[in-house]
Structure formats: structure tokens, C-alpha cells
């Protein structure tokens, strides 16, 4: 994709003013960093940062059959969801492969906001369209909404200062309606960093006003803009999956260690259920593990993993953890090899380097 074909978020010019380093991601011009990935990473862990995640897609699904339809398309159980609640969820193919990981928010019993990955907007939309009955309305509103993620220990205080209101009543994975000037907002207590935080859906035409206003209010909290580079290191420390890495049509959610999102006992049959039931009965052939490098260097996506000189899997994501100051990663490994507890090596630039399986997540915020 050439630079010209990349889409711009409503905040593109603000990122330029901040001298962000821009890259192509999921078809969009996105800021990868403003001052440096490591500094931005620590800023979110210790203070508060804001991410432009307007590239993410927003669908509205409504109608009396919306709940039944969505529940038949996803692996988690949407019957458990109340108004004002969000749920992490997976769209699967019949063969168990992942179409996308999504967040479903119940706005009303017959009205849902579905947040999807930027690079999958068109694919998810056609996938849902193909399966949807006429009694369900599905709208791709991705271009109408900007999305900002405010993350870090100071995010509650900043939200309170900005809206002059206490948000402590909004639970984890709760969503409320709010407003900014004349614009409606959705605010959810969600995020992709492992810190406390909020995600704020702002109508695109108000995005710049909102962005500038929150920096005005945020200056006493030392609010800083954070790029996609730190978003990746933060999510990897928290062991959150990323579509295109841990999740793909060739990987089942059970292999990706997302069995907590796969509710095989739910009342509604769903796409992929038969395959996943069978895979659970037989045991997964591969398992996603967290690892640390025992030697210098980073094992990046697609590096092969070996045990006793046999290829037993590959790295799905690898990076440097600014919090642990170690090289870390996730890898999809043959389950039998893991049961035998064999020593694992990763091939990095023609060199074999030992890795060590560790408990997930790498980082859990102090409570």
C-alpha cells in the first residue's frame, strides 16, 4: 500500500504538529512514537497517556434479533451482558480459525456497539452481513467515530477534572453515554495496556476539539500522547492478543489461550462451535506460551522455535519489555513438546538462542 492510499484519522494534523513519527498500520497513517517508545511506555505505567486509536472500527448492530444474531456469531456468551456492559469476544470461522477479536458493548437490549480491528473492518463487516437475518440492522460507522484511549494510573483523576464528574461508578468493562459540547460520546472503562483507563468514542468532527481540550485539562496531570509502538509493548507485557500475531484464521482461540472467551456450554449455537468442541475434547495441538529470552536480542514474529533440533513452533510477537528490561515474547508451540518440558530455542538471524517459558502475564498492575 502506498503512502497516498493510507487513511488519515481526524487527528492526523495534530500528530504532525507533535512531530510524531508516522507509519502505515492496518491501512492507516498512525503515529508510532512521539518522543520514544520506552519513555512513552513508562509514562502510561506511571502517569497517564492518550492514544489516538481512531483507526479501530465501530459497528452498530440493532433490532429485536440483534442479540441472538451476535451470540450466534461469537464464542463468548452475550446473554450474560447487561445494558452498559462490554465483553471481549471472538468471531470464529466454522473451522475454528479466528476472524477477529472484538469488543461487544450492550447499549440497550436491542442495540450493540461492536469495536473491531482497523485492518479487519471490511472483512468483519462482510462476514457479519453474510450471516445476518433481515431483521437485524448492521451499520459500519467507523468513519463517523474517532476513538481515544486514556490510560494510566492518573486517568481517573484526569477524567474527573475534564468532565467535572466522578467516574468511579463505571465498572471495569462498563460503558456509559456522555457528551462533549453538542456531541454524544461513549465512554468505556476498557483498554489495551494493562493499566487503569478509559476508551472514549468521539464523533469524528469533534475529535480535534476533544484532543486539544483534554491536553489543556491534562497538563497538570502531565498528560502525554502515546504512539502505537508503546501500545504494542504495553499490550505484550499484559499478554493481550493482537490480531495478525496471536490471532489469525489459522489459529483457534483455544490454541491462543482464550478458552475463557469460548463458552461451549452457552445456549445459542455459534459459528465454529462444533470444531471448538471437538478440539477441546481432543486437546489443542498447539499452545500459546509466554517466554523470556535467556540471551541478548529480540525474537520477533515468525522466528522459528526448536526443541531437540526439531521445529516445534514459532514466535507470534516479540519485543523488549521496558518494565522488566528484558526481551519477551509469545510463541505458538506444539503441545506435546510443552508437556515434555523440553528446552526451547529460538532461531534469530541464523543463531539459536535459548528461551524460557514463563507465567502470564509478564506485567500485572499493582492493585
Amino acid at each position: 500500500m502506498t503512502q497516498e492510499q493510507l487513511k488519515k484519522t481526524p487527528l492526523f494534523s495534530e500528530h504532525q504538529k507533535l512531530h510524531a513519527k508516522m507509519v502505515g498500520f492496518g491501512g492507516w497513517h498512525m503515529p508510532i512514537q512521539y518522543v520514544g517508545i520506552i519513555e512513552e511506555h513508562h509514562h502510561v505505567r506511571n502517569q497517564v497517556g492518550i492514544f489516538d486509536v481512531s483507526h479501530m472500527g465501530e459497528f452498530f448492530v440493532s433490532g429485536p434479533d440483534a442479540l441472538g444474531f451476535l451470540n450466534g456469531m461469537t464464542t463468548n456468551d452475550l446473554n450474560k451482558l447487561q445494558d452498559g456492559q462490554c465483553q471481549y469476544n471472538i468471531l470464529c470461522q466454522e473451522n475454528g480459525g479466528v476472524v477477529d477479536d472484538i469488543i461487544v458493548c450492550r447499549l440497550a437490549p436491542d442495540n450493540f456497539l461492536v469495536v473491531v480491528n482497523a485492518g479487519n473492518i471490511q472483512k468483519d463487516f462482510s462476514w457479519l452481513m453474510q450471516h445476518k437475518p433481515d431483521t437485524v440492522d448492521l451499520i459500519d460507522a467507523s468513519d463517523d467515530w474517532a476513538m481515544l484511549a486514556l490510560q494510566g494510573p492518573q486517568s481517573d483523576a484526569l477524567m474527573q477534572a475534564f468532565f467535572n464528574e466522578d467516574f468511579s461508578a463505571v465498572p471495569y468493562f462498563g460503558i456509559i453515554r456522555h457528551s462533549f459540547k453538542n456531541a454524544p460520546l461513549f465512554i468505556s472503562r476498557t483498554g489495551y495496556t494493562g493499566e487503569r483507563g478509559f476508551e472514549i468514542f468521539v464523533p469524528s468532527e469533534y475529535a480535534r476539539d476533544f484532543w486539544n481540550k483534554i491536553f489543556e485539562v491534562g497538563s497538570i496531570f502531565n498528560l502525554q500522547p502515546i504512539g502505537l509502538g508503546a501500545r504494542d509493548t504495553l499490550r505484550l507485557e499484559a499478554c493481550y492478543s493482537l490480531y495478525g500475531h496471536e490471532l489469525l484464521p489459522t489459529i483457534s482461540p483455544l490454541e491462543a489461550d482464550l478458552s475463557w472467551v469460548v463458552k461451549l456450554q452457552k445456549n445459542t449455537p455459534f459459528v465454529g462451535k462444533d470444531f471448538l468442541l471437538e478440539q477441546k475434547r481432543q486437546g489443542v495441538p498447539r499452545q500459546l506460551i509466554a517466554f523470556e529470552m535467556m540471551e541478548a536480542g529480540i525474537a520477533r514474529q515468525d522466528c522459528r522455535v526448536f526443541a531437540s533440533n526439531v521445529d516445534v513452533g514459532y514466535v507470534t510477537s516479540g519485543t523488549y519489555s521496558p518494565t522488566l528490561q528484558k526481551s519477551i515474547g509469545l510463541a505458538l508451540i506444539d503441545a506435546e513438546t510443552l508437556r515434555q518440558n523440553k528446552e526451547l530455542f529460538v532461531e534469530v538471524r541464523q543463531q539459536m538462542k535459548q528461551i524460557k517459558k514463563v507465567a502470564k502475564p509478564f506485567y500485572k498492575r499493582p492493585t
Partner: protein, 129 residues
């Protein structure tokens, strides 16, 4: 913003070279460090290793990417910057002084003739961009 000291020579692969007779010190330029972002690992060569002209002698790795470092002239490693093992960020903070990577003893200084001056390197960068 970027700075390219006049007394150094530069390669198109973004190494800088400080020439002192038959001894040369090599590092990566401010531009290269900036492009890489936060450097988190540096693989430095062993003292005594001999390299051919334009051979890769080390690796600089940042959070986002990894890049070989080349020696623009045949030579033998006589000293390496051990500080980079524990403080790889020296490459970002001070690429021309504390961020030097290795010192080589060379045989044929004429191999250095193709290197760029600070001014030529700056021009090369603006043409690349």
C-alpha cells in the same frame, strides 16, 4: 535537528568513521539512531576478529527494528565499547562519543576514499528523503 560532525567521514549505510592514521573508530550516525528509535541491544564484535571491507561486524537492535552495522574498510578489531552491553541507549544519547561501537586497525587507508564528508552525507540524506 540532526548533527554530523565535520571531522568524521560517513558511509551510505549510516556509519560514521573517525580516522586516526591506521586506526579507525566506527559508530552509527545520529540519523540512523533516530530512525531506529530506542536501542535496547547491541551485538559487538570480539577483539582480534578480522573483517573484510563492507562486512557486517555488529548488530544494533531497537524496540521496533534490527539493523546490521558494516565496516567500510577491511581491518582487525582492536577495541570495543563494552559499555554498550549495559547501556545500549548511549547510541541514541551520544552517537559520536559515548556511543562509539568498535575501533579497527586497518591496512589500506585508500579504502576510505569513497566515504562521504559531513556535507556530502547531509546532502545524501536529503536526496534519500
Amino acid at each position: 535537528m540532526s548533527n554530523y560532525p565535520e571531522e568524521l567521514k560517513y558511509s551510505k549505510e549510516h556509519e560514521w568513521v573517525r580516522i586516526n592514521g591506521k586506526e579507525v573508530t566506527i559508530g552509527i550516525t545520529d540519523y540512523a539512531a533516530e530512525q531506529l528509535g530506542d536501542v535496547v541491544f547491541v551485538e559487538i564484535p570480539k577483539v582480534g576478529t578480522e573483517y573484510k571491507q563492507d562486512a557486517a561486524f555488529g548488530v544494533v537492535e531497537s524496540v521496533k527494528s534490527v539493523s546490521d552495522i558494516y565496516v567500510p574498510v577491511a581491518g582487525k578489531v582492536i577495541e570495543v565499547n563494552q559499555n554498550l552491553i549495559d547501556q545500549p541507549a548511549l547510541i541514541n544519547e551520544d552517537p559520536y562519543q559515548k556511543g562509539w561501537i568498535a575501533r579497527f586497525e586497518i591496512q589500506d587507508p585508500s579504502q576510505l576514499n569513497h566515504l562521504l564528508s559531513a556535507k556530502q552525507y547531509d546532502q545524501f540524506l536529503s536526496e534519500e528523503a
